[in-house]
């Protein structure tokens, strides 16, 4: 789905968003949890709210579910202001971080719980429950109690229960936090699969950037109650709009300097006294002498023993080597004291390493490899 280029309702001005946060502010006493936030989420999206703990992502989700009311502003769901509608009266369901399965009810009854609140038609309920159990591959466990099944199965019961009422919007609060790494990965793909099959709009809250990147159609990176950037995972990674986002997502080299426009979107970045400026391209307009950062992903930085032909090349010595199995990351200290990280893929098995500690090396990158950031 991430590669599905045709799905981009956020680029279509005709499209009406399913959820609209309009100037929403939430205060708990003096503490501002959400600060004048405006955000649109579209139908069938898998939307991720990503940020460190305390950034306000959980508050956003609880406002969507109805457990918190905004202090100010409007929250629209399908054109209707739901800011003050109680949780049991909105077409939104939530999958809790702790799963919150009812311990006294069987898997079957857990899934049927929401359906029984709105309908007395036993056959219709049974049919829907069976359908949900099949979707989440839980048919065999229908009669078990939550404490009689494994963690991964519990997670699927929670998902089946929250999907049973076919909500317009499904909220997932750190849905995979309690699973181990292997199971988490498998479950991520399962979640995407189920999201596509049911066509439900999903909003996921997570602090795990890899999880957000894997599952989401768009990611909102949050910090201190504000949205820093909303974009597709590719854009977030390749074109972050601030040093905060660049630093939060993945590994990055941030080089501070002053811009010197060179015409045609090209800039010279003066980054240290007596050093040749770096060349960089940017769509952003920077004025002469403006302070900026050059954000460079380590995998876009090459490392060589001899001076390469690249436009940006500096010499340094190897300070540290992190071997990650598939990749190696070299920390190269420049003569100015700055450290640049360069990453190479270990494509040959058991090959001799080209560089060792304290080896003099050259790091280099092209003019378009980095992103210029003014904030």
């Amino acid at each position: 789905m991430v590669n599905d280029t045709s799905f981009a309702p956020w680029d279509d001005p005709q499209e009406r968003p399913l959820i609209r946060f309009q100037n929403v502010t939430k205060r708990f006493g003096d503490f501002v949890a959400i600060d004048d936030l405006t955000l649109d989420i579209y139908q069938r999206e898998f939307f991720a709210l990503l940020g460190p703990s305390g950034c306000g992502k959980t508050t956003m989700m609880r406002m969507l579910a109805g457990f918190e009311e905004p202090t100010d502003g409007m929250i629209e769901l399908a054109g209707e202001d739901i800011a003050h509608v109680p949780p049991n009266k909105r077409a939104v369901n939530m999958m809790f971080q702790s799963y919150a399965l009812f311990p006294h009810l069987s898997v079957w009854d857990n899934v049927a719980f929401g359906l029984r609140r709105e309908s007395r038609d036993k056959d219709a309920i049974a049919e829907r429950v069976e359908q949900m159990l099949k979707l989440t591959r839980l048919e065999k466990f229908a009669g078990r109690k939550p404490h009689q099944i494994s963690g991964g199965q519990r997670q699927r019961v929670a998902l089946a229960r929250s999907l049973a009422k076919a909500p317009k919007l499904l909220l997932l609060d750190e849905p995979l936090g309690a699973l181990d790494a292997k199971l988490r990965q498998a479950t991520q793909f399962e979640l995407m699969d189920i999201q596509e099959k049911t066509g439900t709009t999903f909003v996921i809250v997570t602090h795990d950037q890899e999880e957000a990147m894997t599952v989401a159609s768009r990611v909102a990176v949050m910090d201190e109650g504000r949205v820093m950037q909303v974009a597709t995972p590719e854009q977030i990674y390749e074109a972050p709009n601030s040093t905060y986002v660049a630093d939060f997502i993945g590994d990055v080299n941030l080089i501070e300097g002053r811009a010197k426009p060179n015409g045609g979107g090209a800039y010279h970045i003066n980054w240290a006294e007596g050093q040749a400026p770096f060349e960089a391209k940017s769509d952003m307009v920077l004025s002469e002498g403006q302070r900026c950062h050059l954000a460079l992903r380590p995998e876009k930085v090459g490392i060589q023993p001899n001076k390469p032909e690249e436009v940006n090349a500096v010499q340094g010595k190897v300070l540290d080597i992190a071997y990650l199995g598939n990749l190696s990351t070299y920390h190269v200290e420049l003569s100015t004291g700055q450290v640049i990280k360069a990453q190479t893929a270990n494509t040959n098995r058991l090959s001799r390493r080209d560089f060792m500690w304290d080896d003099p090396v050259w790091v280099s990158w092209s003019a378009s490899a980095g992103v210029l950031l003014s904030q």
Binding site: F67, P86, M94, F96, F113, R117, R161
Partner: protein, 272 residues
């Protein structure tokens, strides 16, 4: 098995002797053929038969049972409601004060509770009888129920209630279908506590009962003042027997439940 040291054997014997010798003597003398309590005259069950023919005792027992059942049931309902509001109600005005005040009857001397209730009933012109005993017992046992239930509610996972609301349950339905079944063991033990408290209360019942209603403890107390009769011993033995059966079956049930949960956990851990 660990071999007990002589010191342990002595202290164990002394402790248990202290606890149980009075009761054992009572049970033995309930089977005494003699009418004199202190003289052993052979084994007999005649006093049990005598007891069953004694209308006054049976009446008192019946009154006690009715009072205990009704008052503990009302106390459980009220106490659970109070606990739920105090734990879940959020920070409403005077909450700390109310939580503190719920505990007050626990430490209040019974004589004072009884006296104040007596004054109240006289003040509002309520005739003393079964109704007033029920009201009095409800009053003091309600706070015991509230304490037991609120200690369970404090550890209750709030997100379960939120999940119920999220799935479309009204706040009442969330309580009825999720909270109540989960805290049921605490509610039941609250009821049992209220029931036992009502069964063996003498002081408050004496203050609030009228000539038409005498509870069993009151009856025993008044007849003992005229001298201990073997009938009283028989009656007490029956009560001891009932309590023993209750305690043993309750602990067996708990043990079985824990065992069951352990087995379930093993089943869950097994790969499927």
């Amino acid at each position: 098995m660990i071999r007990l040291s002589p010191f342990n054997v002595v202290s164990l014997t002394l402790g248990f002797a202290f606890l149980y010798i009075p009761m054992v003597i009572l049970v033995i003398y309930s089977f005494n053929a003699s009418k004199l309590v202190t003289v052993w005259a052979g084994f007999s069950t005649q006093w049990y038969g005598e007891l069953l023919r004694n209308e006054a005792f049976l009446d008192a027992a019946w009154v006690t049972l009715r009072v205990a059942i009704v008052s503990s049931t009302i106390a459980t309902v009220l106490g659970t409601m109070a606990a739920y509001t105090l734990v879940r109600g959020g920070k409403f005005f005077g909450r700390t004060l109310f939580s503190g005040m719920v505990y007050a009857p626990l430490v209040m001397p019974e004589v004072i509770t009884g006296l104040s209730l007596l004054l109240l009933f006289i003040g509002i012109g309520l005739d003393r009888g079964i109704l007033t005993i029920v009201l009095a017992h409800t009053t003091f046992s309600m706070c015991f129920v509230s304490v037991v239930v609120s200690s369970r509610l404090v550890t209750f996972d709030r997100s379960l209630e939120e999940a119920a609301l999220d799935l479309g349950a009204s706040p009442f339905e969330a309580f009825r279908f999720v909270t109540l079944p989960i805290i049921a063991p605490a509610v039941i033990s609250g009821w049992l506590l209220a029931f036992t408290l009502s069964l063996d209360d003498l002081v408050i019942a004496s203050f609030t009962s009228g000539p038409s209603a005498t509870t069993l403890p009151m009856k025993i107390w008044s007849s003992v003042r005229l001298g201990v009769s073997p009938e009283i011993n028989a009656l007490s033995t029956i009560l001891i027997g009932l309590v023993t059966i209750g305690v043993i079956s309750a602990s067996l049930a708990t043990k079985r439940a824990t065992l069951r949960q352990k087995l379930d956990a093993q089943v869950a851990a097994r790969p499927t």
